[in-house]
Every structure is written in C-alpha cells, then in structure tokens.
C-alpha cells in the first residue's frame, strides 16, 4: 500500500473512524491522570506490548499443522509442555518441510507459494525464522520443485555445522538442492538417480533412500558441489517388508523401521555406512499383528537410549494407522520396557511422537483427531491433553 499512489484521492480527507480515535486518545489520557473516583481506585491505563519468546525450555515442542483441509495455510505452533500454552506461530505455506538449525536458533521452512493464494505462478522458497523472535529473517528462492510429501524431518535439513541446507526435489525426477543459509543462495543441485529425501550427516554428507533398498550417499566439497557418491548394500526389501521413509534419528545415525517392525539401525559415523544387525519391535507371535504406524513413527531419547513407537493391531496397508499403544524399547538390550495404552476413543490414535532430550523428559504425541498429548516419558503418565492444536498436526520437533 505504501508504494501505491491512489489516483486523485488525497489521503488527508475524511477519516471519521480515526478522527474519533484521535479524540479518544487525547481525552482519555487526561482522564487517566485525573483524580480517582470512589474507592477502589480505577484500573490504570494499559500499554500494548509485543510478547517475547523468553528463555528456551527443553519442554517446548514445535508442532507442524499441515492443515489438510486448507493446505496452503500450514503453520507451526511453538507449544510449551509445562505451561500448556502456545508461545507463538510460524507460517509455513503449502506442504512444507520444516527443520531446526543445529544450534536451535533458526527454523528453516522449505515450502511452496502461489502468486494468487492457491493458483498462479508457483514460487518455492526456503524461509528462515528466528526462533527467538519468531520473525522471518530471510529466504532463498529455490527451483519450483520442492518435494511435497508426507510430514517428516527429511524434506529440508541442515548439515551438522549449519553451513549447508539440503532440500529434496521431485518433478518426478529426484534430486536435491544444496543451499548456503549464510549467503542465502543456492549452491548446487545434485541428481540422486531416483533415490529420494535428504538424510544429512556430518558437515558434508547427504544420503537418499532408494527403491533398491540401498542408501545413496553423496559427499560434498566446500562449495557444496558433489565430490563423490557411494551406494550402500541393500538393507531392506521393499516388496517383502518396506521401511518407513521417515527414519528415526539416532545419536550415531538413523534407524529405519519396517512395516513389520524390523529396526534397521545404520551407523553414519564411519566412512562407509555400517548396517547393524536388524532387531524386531515385535515377538514372533506378535509379528504381522502388532505393527508400527502413523506419520512420525518413532522418537529416541538419546541419553536414556529409549525408543518410543506408536503401535497398533493391523495388517497389510495399515502402516499409516495411528498407535493404540505407545511401546518403549531399550536401544541397547532391544527389550520392550513398557507399553502405554491410549484412550483412542477419547483422544484418537497416535500418529506422531517426539520426546524431549532432558533428564525429566516429556513424551509428546499427536493424534489423528488433532489432539496433542503430553506424557511423562519415564512413566507414561498422561500430564495433559491439548485439544485440537490446529487442524492436522503431524510432525513434532524438539527446540
């Protein structure tokens, strides 16, 4: 509006509304100073302020609401698991990728906008938001082919030193972009031979998952260009027992969980990926009946070495069904240490889990009916139910 020069309408004429306001402001301020009436003395005039985010708490959670029925209007709610209040909001556009910088100071949003709301020229961007002010601080325009898919941590991601940002592309040709968040520019686009998504490791390695059951790993040079690529041995069979693409981050790599509950832990810390011996979430008798499912299908507490998985009774094709229970596993012994049933009639089944990384951890669980549950991650005790936190919350991130 500031840049538009209205044809022949001087802006100085006729503001009945604002004129009254002006009088009000003038007159009221004098009254506020005037002697008080009968006791108790009148309430003082209040001052409008802008709230600040305040000191970060490990019990905060970023809740990504994909708003399926209004998909151009997805957003992130920053929610406090102790006070059960919203701290603020970050707008995230259309089928976004959302991730935090390694230092937690920035939220990166890879998303799509249209020139006319839901139609018109498509512009894809990675937007950067300051987590201390929840204000947008900048953006990088990327090729208009951001991979628009299921909520997960791998549709935008940072390198471990925060110097690169990776964004998967799909046209349907698969590739990914390497961005420089400091200089706000696109450094390169790297073809992934049909492998997809970005699983980052270290300062300069990006893996993508392939239909062959392998991981393709690209190593970047200092300019963000491809230096080399290697392909792992196959570690799963997409026909017999596919793994969820939404891997679970481990202290030293990622765990790829299969539809039937096999856990494929992969050590990313070595020059070549090291596939550990797979282990199972389910017993021989449970196998095929009890299954992991949902969207964000696992979360790990790193120092406690615990894995949390929403589980349900299902069959072929039930891999997106939410959990009727949350199962807890010890990552060393691979033993199940607890199973916590959820009142799914009342709350809905659990489609996403996240756990805070502190010593008194909270388990956050989003349900298919848009409730966000807050549980004690050590006892499973339900602390709070935040009803209807948005429309379709499906991804939970730690601060």
């Amino acid at each position: 509006m500031r840049t538009y020069d209205p044809p022949g309408v001087p802006m100085t004429r006729h503001f009945p509304g604002v004129i009254l306001l002006t009088l009000a402001a003038g007159t009221v301020s004098s009254w506020a100073a005037a002697p008080a009436g009968p006791q108790p003395s009148p309430l003082p005039a209040e001052h409008l302020t802008i709230a600040t985010v305040g000191p970060k708490s490990p019990h905060w959670v970023y809740v990504v609401d994909y708003a399926y029925a209004n998909e151009i209007d997805s957003r992130v709610y920053l929610f406090d698991g102790d006070t059960y209040r919203r701290i603020g909001q970050i707008d995230t556009g259309f089928i976004p990728g959302v991730n935090l910088s390694p230092d937690g100071k920035t939220t990166a949003v890879a998303t799509t906008y249209f020139a006319r709301g839901g139609h018109g020229t498509r512009t894809d961007v990675v937007e950067f938001n300051d987590n201390n002010t929840l204000a947008k601080t900048g953006e990088i325009v990327i090729p208009p082919k951001h991979a628009q898919t299921l909520a997960m941590l791998f549709t935008v991601a940072y390198s471990s030193d925060g110097k690169f940002v990776y964004t998967p592309y799909l046209t349907p040709a698969a590739s990914f972009g390497v961005l420089d968040p400091a200089r706000k520019k696109v450094l390169s686009e790297i073809d992934t031979a049909g492998c997809t998504l970005v699983f980052p490791w270290g300062p300069n390695r990006v893996s993508s998952i392939c239909e062959s059951g392998r991981l393709l790993t690209v190593t970047l040079d200092a300019q963000g260009k491809e230096a080399s690529r290697t392909s792992s041995e196959p570690f799963f069979n997409p026909d017999q027992d596919p793994v969820f693409a939404q891997a679970v981050p481990l202290p030293d790599g990622y765990a790829y969980v299969s539809f039937l509950g096999q856990v494929h832990e992969i050590d990313f810390t070595q020059p070549k990926l090291v596939m550990r011996t797979p282990w199972s979430l389910v017993s021989a008798t449970e196998k095929g009946t009890w299954r992991p499912g949902g969207v964000q299908i696992g979360a790990v507490h790193r120092s406690l070495g615990k894995l949390f998985v929403p589980m349900h009774r299902g069959g072929d094709g039930s891999h997106k069904a939410g959990g009727t229970e949350i199962w807890v596993f010890d990552l060393k012994s691979h033993q199940r240490t607890a199973r916590w049933p959820i009142d799914t009639k009342e709350l809905g089944s659990v489609i996403a889990v996240q756990v805070s990384q502190d010593a008194a951890p909270l388990l956050f669980a989003a349900t298919e009916t848009a409730n966000v549950l807050v549980l004690d991650a050590q006892t499973g005790k339900m602390q709070h139910v935040e009803k209807k936190l948005g429309q379709t919350p499906q991804l939970l991130l730690n601060p």
Binding site: V28, L48, T49, A51, R85, G88
Partner: protein, 172 residues
C-alpha cells in the same frame, strides 16, 4: 448500548470553535504519515517493542471470551496465541489503527474505554475465537466497528489475533 460520553464531550467542545468540514480537514492533515501515530492510543507499541517486553503469562480470565474487557472484541484472543489480553504474540505487529469499546468492569462497577487492536503479519491463530459486540457499530461508524481487518494499514496486513487494552475510565 453504553453511552459514549467521551465522544459527545469531545464533539461538543470542538463544535464551539470549528465547523465539521474544517475539523475533518485539519485532523485529516494530522492523520497522515508519522504525525498520525503519536495521536493514537497505539503510540505505546513503540515502547512495547523494546527489549523490556514481557514473556506472555496470560491468566485464565484473559483466555476466556467472557472476560469483561472483551465486550466488543471479534476474533482470536491473543492470550491463546502466544500473547496476553494486552500483548501481541511474538513475531507479530500491532495495528496502529484500532476500534474501541466501552466495557463494564464488574470488579469496580466502572465503565472503561477499551482499545481493541489486531495483531498482524501471521495467518489466523485459529484458537479462542471470541465475538462480542456490546456497543459495536456497523462499518459506517468505523471507530466502533470490529468487522474490518484493522491490520489493513500495516506493512504486513494479515490478521492473526486481537487484544484489548484499557485506555481509561468512561465518565459517568
């Protein structure tokens, strides 16, 4: 509808020394550009945006549509969106223009003039929708209307939520 003596009084005093048209014109001049802001209740936001701004700790009252200060609000209560009844959520901007209401405080039996401001620059908060209309007037009386998007004049003019700020006591 509660009496707006504040406006009657102001109008009377002004009527003595000026015609409506010249009044409009002269005020119009003041209402443009930076000169506008100091005249509006909302010049306080300038201070507000300083580092001394508070972390929001909304009370249960402030998250309740029945709260007396909300007697003419229409929108999402900022107290449910990361703010309070008097603070916009982080990362939003307050509207420099606003509508007002006259609300009765059962706590002290007084009527207060309340300024409602929209908080702007993010998409709809979507929580704690509250639509109350005591003394609210249609769009032709803009200063009392809660239907228009009061973020209209902001650089970022999207509507996020609404606050309610006490300006002072309405004269009995």
């Amino acid at each position: 509808m509660k009496p707006d003596r504040i406006f009657e009084k102001a109008a009377r005093s002004l009527a003595k020394r000026t015609s409506r048209r010249s009044l409009l014109a002269s005020l119009g001049q003041l209402l443009t550009g930076a000169a506008l802001l100091p005249l509006l209740p909302i010049d306080r936001t300038a201070r507000a945006q300083s580092p001394s701004s508070p972390v929001a700790k909304p009370t249960a009252d402030e998250q309740n549509c029945e709260y007396w200060k909300y007697c003419a609000i229409d929108g999402f209560l900022c107290a449910c969106c990361g703010g309070t009844s008097t603070s916009c959520p982080p990362g939003t901007q307050s509207s420099p223009i606003t509508w007002i209401g006259t609300c009765h405080n059962p706590g002290d039996g007084r009527d207060y003039i309340v300024s409602y401001n929209d908080c702007c620059g993010k998409v709809s908060c979507g929580d704690c929708f509250c639509d109350r209309n005591e003394g609210e007037k249609p769009m032709y009386r803009l200063s009392r209307n809660n239907d228009v998007n009061w973020c209209m004049a902001n650089t970022e003019s999207n509507y996020h939520c609404s606050v309610s700020v006490i300006l002072g006591v309405a004269q009995k």
